[in-house]
């Protein structure tokens, strides 16, 4: 429950910055958070510390252009195991995921 509250608080704080692409609803954000950890986590690890795919922690992603990250999720990385998520996720979903990755887990410090 604390997790969702954290997300809602965050989304209120930055909703104006993301106004161009509609911000996913609180329920959708919870679904995306679960998708990120459980399904992206299949390859990148539940802690996003990497696996078959690279680590996706903020310190690893620092310096990578936001648009490049968006393109990577949307189109995948041909020649690697990274699939395109464009057929499954909306632009708003992908933008939310990229920002979530860049700022780190909302629960940092609670779980290892």
């Amino acid at each position: 429950m604390w997790c969702r509250i954290g997300i809602v608080a965050f989304s209120l704080a930055v909703s104006s910055a993301l106004a161009r692409s509609a911000v996913p609803s609180a329920q959708r954000q919870a679904e995306l958070e679960s998708l990120l950890l459980q399904d992206c986590g299949s390859c990148h690890g539940l802690m996003l510390k990497g696996g078959l795919g690279p680590a996706l922690r903020p310190q690893v992603l620092a310096g990578k252009p936001r648009q490049w990250l968006i393109d990577t999720i949307r189109n995948g990385r041909p020649g690697t195991a990274m699939p395109p998520w464009g057929p499954i996720l909306s632009d708003a979903d992908i933008a939310w995921l990229v920002d979530r990755l860049l700022r780190g887990a909302p629960d940092t410090g609670v779980r290892p």
Binding site: S34, L37, Q38, D39, G41, S42, C43, G45, L46, M47, K49, G50, G51, L52, G76, A81, P83, P84, W85, P87, I88, P112
Partner: protein, 389 residues
């Protein structure tokens, strides 16, 4: 009142530690609760939860092998953790962090060695099964000083381990006759990006599935000098491959008679191999991209689960007709299926419902549900006595 409770806890600690069950372990199983770094110990005679063991680290991609006496489970975690769990006392007996990032492991034929396959740094480490002391480090080197991620590690007769190199496209055999000085045999150019490997129950054939191209790589361990042979070459020919949102797994060997069943990568198909000539016999259309393709132990049926976003169903193939005979819908996030050793029941983890379900395999009816937090892999202790598990 509170202080009284605290005293009770303090004094009862050692008593609980000695409170180990006096029972066999043959009907026990471990369920990974991957988000919690915990495992549940369950028993499959009455289908109940027995105990929960915590403190196993990051179990994003966890697997388990068992000591030959069936008392200990070796749990391999994503964070490089190797934990030896005592099933009877329900506690972590020993635990080492042996790498930065690992994917799975195996126990040697003689039960004395535990091997772990690692992504970072890429390679295999071999430990003493009793003490978890490091005995051998096998870096998966290739190209110009590169290290490859290692997948598909299995035990093979002759106290050997066999594994595949994801980045390098190689299969290696490590002969562990002298545990501190493994002898390595390398097979190069076996195909691009092997994603997992299996060994047949007799320990003769090692097969790596390929992600980077259509086909599988077959190694006859009776005749390693004959090299690796490509089978099911170009099985996806003419079909549009779909994005792969979860890697398939090869585990055990779904064999029924002289047919084997394997997942097709990027296709909504199960491939049927004719074991007499290793050729594709049939391709069975299914609901999604298969992840696990598992034969019921009697070989009459093959059960299949699927990758995201089709992971809410399980389909059952009738082996005689090669047709789908049933579709079950356990719920979103079906991650694993494990048959009880004689096959009368199957355990299915349903991650998003926080449940493990037990089905009657004759009637396909749900018998029981157990609570488990984000369950993933289910591992029966009966694996202790099987090659390649």
């Amino acid at each position: 009142m509170k202080r009284w409770w605290l005293l009770l806890v303090l004094f009862s600690g050692p008593l609980f530690a000695d409170d180990c069950a006096l029972r066999g372990t043959g009907d026990l199983a471990i369920v990974i609760e991957r988000a919690d770094g915990a495992v549940q110990i369950v028993e499959t005679t009455h289908n109940t939860a027995v105990a929960r063991v915590e403190g196993l680290g990051d179990l994003s991609h966890a697997s388990v092998v068992y000591s030959r006496d069936g008392r200990y489970a070796y749990v391999f975690g994503r964070d490089g953790g190797l934990s030896k769990v005592d099933l009877l006392c329900a506690r972590v007996e020993k635990r080492v962090i042996q790498s930065g990032n690992s994917i799975g492991g195996a126990i040697s034929q003689d039960g004395r060695l535990i091997a772990v396959s690692n992504y970072t740094p890429g390679g295999v480490k071999v430990f003493d099964a009793d003490s978890l002391e490091l005995l051998a480090d096998i870096p998966a080197t290739w190209g110009d000083g590169l290290r490859s991620k290692v997948i598909g590690l299995v035990d093979a007769p002759g106290n050997r381990f066999v594994f595949s190199l994801w980045d390098a496209g190689e299969i290696w055999i490590a002969d562990m006759q002298d545990p501190r000085h493994p002898r390595i045999t390398r097979f190069e150019d076996i195909g691009r990006n092997p994603y997992d490997g299996l060994i047949t129950p007799d320990g003769r054939y090692y097969i790596a599935g390929l992600f980077g191209e259509d086909g599988m790589a077959l190694l006859d361990l009776w005749h390693p000098e004959r090299g690796v042979r490509r089978i099911l070459d170009h099985y996806g020919r003419g079909e549009k491959k779909r994005p792969v949102y979860k890697m398939p797994h090869l585990e055990g060997w779904a064999v029924a008679g002289d047919r084997a069943f394997v997942p097709a990568v990027g296709l909504h198909s199960v491939l049927v191999i004719d074991l007499r000539d290793w050729c594709e016999l049939a391709r069975i259309p299914v609901y999604g991209q298969p992840v696990f393709v598992e034969a019921r132990p009697d070989g009459r049926e093959v059960w299949v689960n699927f990758a995201f976003p089709n992971n809410e169903k399980v389909q059952i193939i009738d082996v005689e007709t090669l047709r789908l005979s049933d579709t079950l819908e356990p719920g979103k996030g079906v991650l694993h299926m494990e048959f009880e050793p004689r096959g009368e029941e199957v355990w299915i983890s349903v991650r998003d419902r926080d449940r493990v379900q037990v089905y009657d395999t004759a009637t396909h009816q749900l018998l029981r549900e157990l609570l488990a937090r984000k369950p993933s892999g289910i591992f029966m202790a009966a694996r202790a006595h099987r090659i390649g598990l």
